[in-house]
Symmetry: C2
Subunit: 204 residues, 2 copies
């Protein structure tokens, strides 16, 4: 057994710490989504994780840090969706399908849901600007796809790119408001249904 | 000129008072929607109406009364939509069209938008219960129409009634979040586009 292999037997302390911090972030944001940021205390979080509040302070300084980190990760996930679409050479309809699928799967997670459930006035200016830019980027990609789809004869001419994008993101952003509780609808079911329904609504 | 006609020349004091009170409610709720309930003062409202704060007190006691009255009127409007649909004998697809059209036109008004822009914790228990019941009623009507439309062969069998309704109301409830500013998209355009897109997405 080489030196490298010996060290790989267990994860490094740093890797373990990262995973535990991520558990704090994800459980924190789940509680914020369920009960609201103001109504959630670090005591609630400690109880939910089965650890002491003192242990939490080893990973984060305060509630705000949890929310900020959750929003940062969530915006990055949307940026990755936009990046993937921009660097792909799909047809217009396929592009719209890819965005609906990826966005539905993300918004159905706790980190995804915090993007719509966090009140506007809880966002720092920096996060607000970044979130708006990322949403606008995805909105532009759908509009562009609709326009190109009409030109290519794939999409009906009566489809308004702006209103089509608004309907799609409205339906998707509304998911965290109704898909709660102990047995939420799987993201894949939501994605399949929304893709089918919106794409059939667009096709010539 | 008869006595009755003489009195009809000008509106009664009571009718004038009702109209002025309604102007206070509608302007108030517009400001709440634009700037948030907490950030809107009765001074802002007086300024916006070009009257004194003292005059406002002749019509309402406080900000809370404005919001409560706006929500009451808005819920009643949704109840009327549900009532109309329940007492009509349209086909499944026509029923869905009627709901999309009426809901789009209502949600695009200031009174309609306050239903989604007012934060949950601003609602009294009574209003919360009533609003939820009315929304559930409309949701049930769409689901029922989808189920019946599938049975009648009008709607594709792959349409899930629950997810179809969620997509429609998501798209509609999202309208107040993007359709702001000085030149909002007319409600009729939103309604036409959403009807076309959702109905084509449903049809066999």
């Amino acid at each position: 057994m080489s030196n490298d292999q010996w060290h790989d037997v267990v994860e490094s302390r740093e890797a373990q710490r990262r995973k535990k911090r991520q558990a704090v972030i994800e459980t924190g944001v789940r509680l914020f989504n369920e009960n609201g940021f103001e109504k959630t205390s670090l005591d609630d979080l400690a109880k939910s994780l089965g650890i002491t509040k003192r242990t939490i302070y080893y990973y984060v300084q305060c509630k705000d840090e949890i929310l900020a980190e959750a929003l940062r990760q969530s915006i990055q996930a949307l940026e990755r969706i936009a990046w993937t679409v921009e660097n792909d050479t799909c047809s217009a309809v396929d592009t719209i399908e890819v965005i609906i699928d990826a966005y539905a799967r993300w918004i159905a997670t706790d980190l995804g849901a915090c993007l719509v459930l966090t009140r506007e006035n809880m966002l720092t200016d920096e996060v607000r600007v970044e979130l708006r830019a990322t949403k606008q980027q995805l909105d532009r990609l759908i509009r562009k796809a609709v326009t190109e789809g009409i030109e290519a004869g794939e999409i009906r001419e009566t489809c308004d790119p702006r209103l089509t994008s608004a309907a799609i993101f409205g339906a998707l952003n509304w998911v965290p408001y109704w898909n709660r509780g102990s047995t939420p609808t799987p993201a894949s079911d939501i994605s399949d249904q929304f893709k089918r329904s919106f794409i059939q609504g667009l096709r010539r």
